[in-house]
Symmetry: D2
Subunit: 354 residues, 4 copies
C-alpha cells in the first residue's frame, strides 16, 4: 500500500532485460554509441518529429532545469503554476541552471494555469522597458501537480498566448505518459501540435531506473543544450545504459501500457474513496493521482494498516482531533496492485472498534 509517489515503484523486467542486452563489449562513450542513436531515433518516431533534438538525463529536475535554461535568459521571468514542481520542489534548480531567472507563480484551479492570469502577467511584463525583467518561457506541468491533465486544446490556448508574445512553451512531463494515456491522444498532439517547444519526457516515475529525455521540437530554440548538459554533470559517459532503458520504454508502447496500469489503479482508488461516506475528493482524478480529504481517525486507521502517502498537514495531525479533515495525496504507479487497493478499501471500511 505504497502511495507516496510513483517514484517508489520497481522497474518492469523488460527494462532490466534491456540493460543486460546492452551490456556487451565496448561502446563509444558520451552518447556516441549506437544504442543512443537508436533511442533518439525511436523517440523522434514516437513524437512524429524527425528533426527533434533529444538529450537523455537521469532525473526530472535535470530535465526541467536544462530545458528551461536553454530557453530562458538570466534576466527573464519563467511563468508556471504557483504549485509547480519547478517552483516549489527543486531547491532552486531552475534559478541555478538559468543563472538567476525568476519563476513567476500563476494561479489556476486544480493545478492548471488560468489563462486570464497568464494574460495579466504577460501584460505586466510587456509594459516593462528594456532594463526590466523580461518575459521568458511558459512552463506547463502535465499531468499537473493536482493530478489533472491539460488536454491539447488547453495546451494550445496557453502556448498560443505565449507564442503571440514571442515566448516559448516548455512542458514538464514527468508524468507525460499518464497524461497521454488518460487523454488517448498522440504524443505529438499533446506537444508540438499544440505549440509546445520543449518537453521533459519522463521515464523514471513510470518504470525506469532513472531516465528522462529533454526533447526540443524546434532544435534552434535550444540554446547550447549539449554544453549545458555537460557542464551540469548530466552527460553520461555510459550513455548506452540510459538509451537501452529508453528504447525498451518506447518499444511497443510499453510506456503507455505502464501508464494505463497506473491510471487504472488510481481510478479504482478514486472509486473506493467515492464510495466512502467519510471521504471528499479535492481535485478531479484524471490520471494516476488521487487527492482526497479524510477525517484524522481514518488516516490513523489507514496508516495502521500500512498505507503510506503524503498528508497535506503535519503527520502529528493524524493523532489530533479525530474528525478534523486532512488532505492526502495518493499516487499509483504501474506496479500498484489490486491487493493494494483492496487493502486500502478494507482499512477504510473496517469498523473502528471491532
Amino acid at each position: 500500500m505504497f502511495f507516496i509517489s510513483d517514484n517508489g515503484g520497481p522497474v518492469p523486467d523488460a527494462v532490466l532485460t534491456a540493460l543486460a542486452a546492452a551490456n556487451t563489449g565496448h561502446a563509444m562513450p558520451y552518447g556516441k554509441d549506437a544504442l543512443t542513436a537508436q533511442a533518439v531515433a525511436q523517440i523522434r518516431t514516437v513524437f512524429e518529429a524527425p528533426d527533434a533534438l533529444v538529450h537523455f538525463v537521469a532525473t526530472g529536475t535535470a530535465a526541467n532545469a536544462l530545458a528551461l535554461a536553454s530557453l530562458a535568459h538570466p534576466w527573464q521571468a519563467i511563468f508556471a503554476h504557483e504549485g509547480a514542481h519547478i517552483l516549489r520542489d527543486e531547491c532552486n534548480a531552475p534559478e541555478f541552471f538559468t543563472g538567476g531567472a525568476k519563476i513567476v507563480g500563476l494561479p489556476g484551479a486544480a493545478g492548471r494555469i488560468d489563462p486570464a492570469a497568464f494574460k495579466a502577467a504577460l501584460a505586466q511584463f510587456a509594459s516593462q522597458d528594456g532594463t526590466d525583467t523580461d518575459a521568458g518561457p511558459l512552463s506547463l506541468t502535465n499531468v499537473t501537480e493536482c493530478g489533472t491533465v491539460y488536454d491539447p486544446d488547453q495546451v494550445s490556448q496557453l502556448a498560443g498566448m505565449a507564442r503571440a508574445h514571442g515566448i516559448a512553451t516548455h512542458m514538464d512531463g514527468a508524468r507525460f505518459a499518464n497524461a497521454v494515456a488518460a487523454l488517448g491522444c498522440t504524443p505529438a498532439e499533446l506537444t508540438w501540435k499544440s505549440g509546445v517547444d520543449a518537453l521533459s519526457f519522463g521515464g523514471t516515475k513510470n518504470g525506469l531506473l532513472g531516465v528522462e529525455a529533454v526533447i526540443f521540437f524546434n532544435p534552434d530554440a535550444a540554446q547550447a543544450l549539449a554544453r549545458r548538459r555537460k557542464r551540469a554533470g548530466h552527460l553520461f559517459s555510459k550513455s548506452r545504459y540510459l538509451a537501452a532503458q529508453m528504447l525498451a520504454y518506447t518499444q511497443d508502447d510499453l510506456w503507455l501500457s505502464l501508464a494505463r496500469d497506473a491510471n487504472a489503479a488510481a481510478s479504482r482508488l478514486e472509486q473506493v474513496l467515492a464510495d466512502s461516506p467519510d471521504a471528499t475528493l479535492i481535485h478531479p482524478r484524471e490520471a494516476n493521482m488521487v487527492f482526497a480529504r479524510l477525517p484524522a481517525h481514518q488516516h490513523a486507521r489507514l496508516r495502521a494498516a500500512g498505507a503510506t502517502y503524503y498528508l497535506q498537514a503535519p503527520d502529528s495531525a493524524v493523532s489530533g482531533p479525530r474528525d478534523v479533515m486532512l488532505g492526502a495525496r495518493l499516487v499509483c504507479n504501474w506496479a500498484t496492485t489490486g491487493t493494494d487497493i483492496e487493502g486500502f478499501a478494507n482499512a477504510l471500511k473496517a469498523p473502528e472498534f471491532p
Copy 2:
C-alpha cells in the same frame, strides 16, 4: 581492442545481478531507502571513516563539481594540475557549480603537481588583501591524467601544505580504485590519513553503469552538499538502484579486483610497447593507462587492425609523414582481454609489407 577510455567497457554481471535483486516492491524515494543506508555504511567501513558524509551521484563531473562547490566560495581559487580534468574536460562545470570560482593550473611532471609550484601559488594568494581572489581548495587527481599515481607520502606533502594555509584538499578519484590497487595501500591511507578532506570516489570507469560517491571525511567541511546535489538535479528519486551498484562494487573487494585486472592489462600493454623498437613511453605506466609515442605508420597499422585510442594529434596525422612520432593514450579496463593485448602486439610487430 578498445583503448579509448575505461568508460567504454561493460559492467560485470555482479552489478546487473545486484540491480535485479534491488528491484523488489516499493522503496522510499530520494535516498531514504534501506539500500542507500547500507551502501553508505559499507563505504564508511571500506574507508574506516564511520562519520563520513557519503552522497551518490551518477557522473564524475557531478561528483567533482559538487565536492568542489561544497568546499570553495565563488571568490576563491581552486588549485589543480594544469592538465586536470576539472580544468580541461568538464565544460566549466566547477565554475558553474561554485558560482564562478577560478581554477588555477599548476605545473608538475607526469601529471603530479610540483610542490614548489603549489608553494609559490599559495604565497601569491596569501599576499592578497581582503578584496582579492582568495585561496580555496586544492584538488589532486589520483590516478593522474598522465596515468601516474600519487602515493600517500606525496598526497600528504601537498595536502599538508594546503592545511597549513587553512585550505582543504579534494581528490578527484575517478580512477581511485586503480590507484589503490597499484599502491597496495588502504583507501584510508590514500585519503583522510594523508590529509584528504573530500573524495570523488569513482565507480563508472571501473565497472558501474554510472555511480560515483562524494565522500567528505570531515562532514563539517561540506557546505550544504545535500541541497547542492538536489538543486543540481543529482538527487536520484530511485536511489536504491545507485546504492545497489555501489554495494556490489564495494562488496568483497570487487572494486579492487576489477581495478587490478585493468592495471594488469595495462602492464602487459606497456610491456608490448617496451618490446617494440618503434615505441617510446611518455609517462611511467603506474595504473591502467599507457602513454606512448609511435611513428605514424605504426598508428595507421594499429588502426587498420581495429585498435581504437586517442591520439595527441589530429587524426589526419596518421596518414601524414610515416616516421613522425605521435603520442597516444591507451586505457585498459577490467574487461580488456588478453586477446586485445595480443591483437595490439601483433599489429605492431607485423611486417609492414607482407
Copy 3:
C-alpha cells in the same frame, strides 16, 4: 512639477562643496583613504552602532543585492512584500548576486507585509526536509513601495518572527531618511533596536549623486561582503568621493532635513488632492509619496500643465474615456518647491473649458 521619482532631483550645494573639499592631492585607493574611514565612523555614530560594518556603493540595487547575497544562500528563499523593489524592479539582481535564491512575494495592505502571511510562509518552509529550498532572510522596504512606513513596533514584530526562525532581517532603506523623518524615531530604533540585521541606507533618492551604504549591525552575519562588493564591480577606487558625499549627508542631520522637506512637500500635495472632489487617495500618505486616483481628463490636464509622474496604467489611457479613474504615483524630493505644488493644484482646479 517633476513627480516621477525622487531620483530625478538635483543634489544640494553642500554635497558639491564636500566633493570639492575632498579633491585635494592624492589618496589611497579602494577605500583605504581617510575620508572613507571618517564616513564609516560617522555612520556608526548616527546609528549608535560602534561595531557596524559599513560599505559604500553607488546604487540602491547594488546595496540591496549585496546585502541579500551576504545573508542568503543560493538554495534559500528571500521573503519580501509582493510589490517589493527587489522582486519587481531590479531585473533579477538579487537572483544574480545570490547565485539563484528565490524571492517569495508576500501579501499585505499598503505595502506592509501581513504578519499572518509571513507566519504561513515560514511554516511552509519549516516543514521542508534538508534538500528543499530553505528559509532565508526577510527583507522589509521602509518607506514601502506604497509610500507607507513601518514603525519600530511593526518592524520588531516581523523581525522578531524572523529571528525566532533563525533567519535574518534586511531593510531596503532607499527612502530610510523619509521613514525616520516621518516617524521622529532614531535610526537605531528603526533598525537594530527593532531586530534589523542589515540596512541598505539610501542617499541617492534623498540628495546624493549616487551613494548608498550597506550597513551590517552584526558584522558576523555579512558573509564575505567585501569580496562580494569587489567581484560585483562595486568597490570604488576613488572611494573618497563617495565618502565625502556621505559625510556631508550625515553631518548636522542634513539627511533628515532633506527628507523632512520632501515629506512636507508630499503632505501639501496630499492636501491638494484631498481638497479635490475628483481625487481619491489610494494609500495613506506617510512620507514623500502620494498615491491617488483621478479621472483621465484630470490627468490630461495635469500633463498639459507640465506635471510628470507615473500612471498605474498605460499612458494612452489619459486620452481615453474621460471619467475613468486612473491611479498615479507622485513622488516629492527635497527640491520640490511650493511652486510645483501650487502649479499642480492650479492645474487640478482650473476650469476644464476656460
Copy 4:
C-alpha cells in the same frame, strides 16, 4: 610623491565644474536625460562610430565584466594575458558576470600576448567537440599591465586571429587614453579599425570621479548589455552626473591632454631612473607607468623621503639585505608634478649617510 596608482589622484576642476553645471532642476532618471544622450553622442564622435552602443558605469571592473559577459557564454573560455587585470585583480568578477566562463592566461613579453601562444590556444579549443569548453572572446589590455602599449598593427594581428576563429575582441582600456596619447593614433584606429568589438573606455584613472564607458562598436554583439547592467546594479538613476563628467572629459581633448601629462611625468621619471647607476628598467616605459628594479636600500631611502608605490615583493624586503634588487611599479597621473619627480630623483641621488 604618490606613485601607487593613477586612481589615487584628484580630478581636474573642469570635471567638478561640469558636475555643478549639470546640477540644475530635475532630470529623467536611469539614463533617459539629455546629458546622457549628449555624452553618448560625443563618444560616438570621438570614436568615429555613429552606431556604437555606449553605456556608462562607474568602475573599471564593472566595465570589463559587463563587456565580457555580453560577449562570452558561461561555457566558454576568455583569452587574456596571464597577468591581465581581469584574471588577477578583479576577485573573479568576470567569472561572476559571465556565469562561470573560464579565463585562459596566455604568456607574452612585457604584458603583450604572444601571437604564437594565442594561436596554440585557439588550436587547442578548435579541436574540442560540441560538449567541451568553447573558445570565447579575446581580451587585450591597452595600456598593458606592464606599462607597454599595443599599437594598431599589434591589435590588428591578434584581433584578426580572433575574428578568423569567429570570436570577438574586447579591449580593457582602463588606461586607453594613455595608450592613444602615447601612440598619437586616433581612438578609432586603435579600436574598431583594428578589429576591436568592445572597449572598456576608462575615465577614472585619468581624472574622473568614477566613470567608464562600455562601448560596443558592433551593437549586435552586445548580448543584453542594458539588462546585464541593470541586474548588476550598475545602472545609475542619476545618470546625468556620470554623463556630465564624461562630456567634460571628451570635450576639447581633455582626456588626451590629461593622459599626455601623465605620460610625460612618467617619461621624466624613467629618465631619472635611467640616470641612476642603481636602477634597472624592467619593461620599456611606453605610457604612464615605470617598472624598475632598485636595491633595497634605495627603496628604503625613497620611502623615507615619502615616495609611495607598489613593490613586487613583501614590504618587509625593504629592510632586508641592502643590495637585493626589488622591483617597483611607479604610476604617474595627470596631477603628478615636477616636484614629485624631483623629490624622487633627489631621494635616489642623496648620499646615503649624509
